[in-house]
């Protein structure tokens, strides 16, 4: 992958508020009302993304990554769901836009690839017909033209003999082919924002490699902004330009991919990096697991949501238990939400965390 020039807009939060990104998410909050209390699935998320760049969102289940992406797509519209904050896509605020307007954008300007292609496709309709339908919603063309487009797309995503397979049903495809077909559907209207929610988690590694390659090629071709949601740090390292680490509904660290992997500053990011087994390091007898479990989103701990699991919480002073840390810029484009002093974070990572990675 060739290094792309760093967009100047990414330099610092202050600048980010002035300059417009292609996608700007500001203080996004998604809350689900339940009988047990409000689930704060996303709690004040802010980030920006340019066209042609890929953002990897990492986090564990319940960290709010999928809730945030569904909100971006305008798919969080339940009766007990509230979406607050701002989502600016190409200068338009999607949170305040009418449902009809969001509907006309969805599929054309922004599209989504889901984790499980078997449940995301209708089993009763032919794959081609599903792509044709998606295309004709946004383009006033005949079925014949749309079908030609569907075949073209299936061919582009690497489905062999696309002209024949366009008439297949989803169950006739293998997992990898179904995922390709879904990518073809998502790309049918050349979306400028593509959100992929765990696009390779259900796939075998060899197929995953094919799909990641395909996404990379397609991005170069269409210059879209891609958000890829995953819990696999290897996938992020492979495909992302920037990484956003989420914990309990909030971003705890956000920065260029190189820096997140070589100089991460948040203890949760350290925990993620050191708890994975990796092929490129000598094997150690024990993994350094993060103790405890992710918190419930109904009762997120006060202060820093990570403090009950953080082994450095005592070094951060009393504020860590009472005050929620905000994202502070520590380097160009690199933001961290942590109460530890910057010098302490750099020293701990260098002396204690890095040697065991």
């Amino acid at each position: 992958m060739t290094a792309r020039p760093e967009p100047s807009a990414a330099a610092g939060t202050a600048a980010a508020l002035v300059d417009r990104h292609y996608l700007d998410v500001r203080d996004l909050r998604v809350t689900f009302g339940t009988d047990d209390g409000d689930v704060r699935a996303v709690n004040g998320l802010s980030f920006g993304l340019e066209r042609g760049r890929t953002l990897g969102i990492v986090g564990e289940s319940g960290s709010g990554k999928s809730a945030a992406s569904l909100a971006l797509m305008g798919l969080q519209r339940g009766r007990r769901t509230t979406v607050a904050g701002e989502i600016w896509l190409d200068g338009e605020n999607l949170v305040t836009a009418s449902p009809e307007r969001v509907r006309s954008l969805r599929g054309r300007q922004m599209a989504m690839i889901f984790q499980d292609p078997l449940s995301a496709m209708h089993p009763y309709f032919k794959i081609g017909d599903q792509i044709i339908e998606a295309y004709r919603v946004h383009h006033d063309v005949s079925k014949k033209v749309a079908k030609k487009r569907a075949i073209e797309l299936l061919d582009r995503v690497g489905i062999p003999s696309a002209a024949r397979r366009v008439d297949s049903y989803p169950h006739e495809f293998s997992g990898g082919m179904r995922q390709r077909a879904m990518i073809a559907m998502a790309l049918s209207c050349d979306p400028s924002l593509l959100i992929a929610d765990e696009p390779t988690t259900a796939l075998d590694v060899t197929v995953q490699a094919q799909i990641l390659d395909l996404l990379n090629d397609l991005q170069k071709e269409f210059n879209s902004a891609i958000i890829i949601i995953t819990h696999d740090l290897g996938v992020v390292a492979e495909i992302a330009d920037e990484v956003l680490v989420m914990y309990a509904g909030n971003a705890v660290e956000h920065g260029p991919v190189q820096e997140i992997f070589s100089a991460p500053q948040h203890p949760y990011t350290w925990g993620l990096l050191s708890s994975i087994t990796r092929l490129d390091r000598t094997r150690s007898d024990r993994l350094r697991a993060v103790p405890g479990n992710p918190p419930s989103l109904i009762a997120v701990p006060d202060g820093c949501p990570f403090h009950p699991r953080c082994q450095y919480a005592n070094l951060a002073g009393p504020a860590t238990r009472t005050e929620r840390p905000t994202l502070e810029t520590v380097a160009p484009g690199h933001r961290v939400a942590c109460h530890l002093p910057v010098e302490a974070r750099v020293r701990i990572f260098r002396e204690e965390v890095a040697p065991s990675l």
């Binding site: 070589s262 993620l272 087994t277 490129d280």
Partner: protein
């Protein structure tokens, strides 16, 4: 799509070598059956190819707890509503030979559909093997009836993948963990309760959780309950089928550590089935790679990950993304075309040949046997070659 150059090994050129000998430079040929543990194979009526025999005998040396010989599990495919006619068979597992020593962990890796779970289930006798032999602790258990198998069940236990569906939601943790003990019938009353408390503590849960229901626990905690249940009867062999793949990263590490601790504490023998090659590397002493119902390569951990020989192993290893952006972008990647073929009608001879970049005529006509080409390292390939991948 396959942009990387993928030439055959330099040493062999275009000529088709016989077996793996072409690769062998200094390695000694496998010793033919001299081990006293060989009779298992010797009294098989049909002649086993020499290479296969060698493979089995080497694996058998040492104190094997489990020995699997030419294991086959086929599922019939039938047609017709009133009278079901057999029109074919899914050859999920098709001729496996391996042994697991006491106290060792054998990792079984492969893509979905490679037959790794079927292998585990056949060994635990949750499935009836179609052919071959499964010997546990010196006893042939291949076709034991449900009743004669029952006393042995305490020795072979399973941990399942999905901690949500493998625990009965209407039973308390106490009754889930005590169920195997009640069936075995060793303990009752207070002794039983005490044992359940010990088990919960052993897996890192609080004994007070006894009366709670599975839905009150997180995924990692549920998997601990599943582990406690599997360990209740002091099993000798634990078959863990994807035990951590449903767990989150930070919790996965906790459970992997727990499995390691329990093994050294209780002297367990594991068969660890997983598709994640890096987790398998962490936990296994030896690793077997499966493709379409057969083992294509088997070696100890270092051999498998540092000197893999089979092209399929190369492809698998090179496809695992490495969490280091700089290194990941420099790495050589072998992109396999297409998907694995169906086990209903596997390719003739070498099953990997339609996707293999090294395939030559011999691969389409002669099935490569699993031969030992370095001490403890077996591979089923006509053109094995070492390759640096990680």
């Amino acid at each position: 799509m396959n942009s990387h150059d993928s030439t055959g090994p330099a040493s062999t050129g275009g000529a088709a070598p016989v077996g793996a000998d072409a690769f062998l430079k200094g390695a000694a040929p496998p010793a033919p059956s001299t081990s006293p543990a060989a009779p298992v194979v010797m009294d098989k009526p049909d002649p086993v190819p020499m290479e296969k025999l060698a493979a089995v005998t080497t694996a058998a040396s040492g104190d094997a707890l489990l020995r699997v010989t030419d294991l086959q599990v086929h599922f019939p495919v039938t047609q017709g509503a009133l009278v079901a006619r057999k029109i074919g068979a899914v050859r999920a597992v098709d001729g496996l030979n391996f042994a697991i020593r006491r106290g060792e962990t054998l990792g079984l890796v492969g893509e979905s559909g490679s037959g790794k779970s079927t292998t585990g289930r056949a060994i635990a006798r949750l499935l009836e093997p179609t052919g071959g032999k499964v010997e546990f602790d010196g006893r042939d258990i291949t076709h034991l009836s449900a009743r004669t198998m029952r006393p042995l069940r305490r020795d072979i236990q399973m941990i399942f993948q999905d901690p949500y569906t493998s625990l009965n939601p209407r039973h308390t943790v106490g009754s889930i963990v005590s169920a195997p003990l009640k069936i075995v019938g060793d303990l009752s009353g207070d002794a039983l309760k005490a044992r359940v408390r010990d088990l919960l503590e052993l897996v890192g849960l609080s004994p007070e959780h006894l009366n709670r229901y599975p839905h009150e626990f997180s995924g990692g905690q549920r998997q601990r309950i599943g582990i406690a249940r599997a360990l209740a009867t002091h099993p000798k062999l634990v078959i863990a089928d994807e035990p951590v793949s449903a767990l989150d990263v930070s919790v996965r590490a906790q459970v992997v550590n727990l499995l390691g601790d329990l093994q050294s504490e209780l002297g367990l023998t594991y068969m660890f089935i997983a598709h994640d090659l890096s987790v398998v590397r962490h936990i296994s002493d030896r690793v077997a790679v499966m493709y379409l119902g057969t083992i294509v390569e088997m070696a100890d951990r270092a051999g498998m990950y540092e000197h893999p020989l089979h092209p399929y192993t190369h492809a698998l290893l090179s496809a695992v993304p490495v969490p280091d952006p700089a290194k990941q972008h420099r790495r050589e990647r072998i992109l396999l075309r297409g998907d694995p073929p169906t086990p209903l009608n596997p390719p003739a001879a070498c099953r990997f040949n339609p996707r293999c970049w090294k395939a030559e005529e011999v691969c389409r006509t002669v099935e490569p046997p699993l031969v030992e080409i370095q001490p403890g390292h077996q591979v089923a390939c006509h053109f094995p070659e070492e390759r640096e991948l990680v």
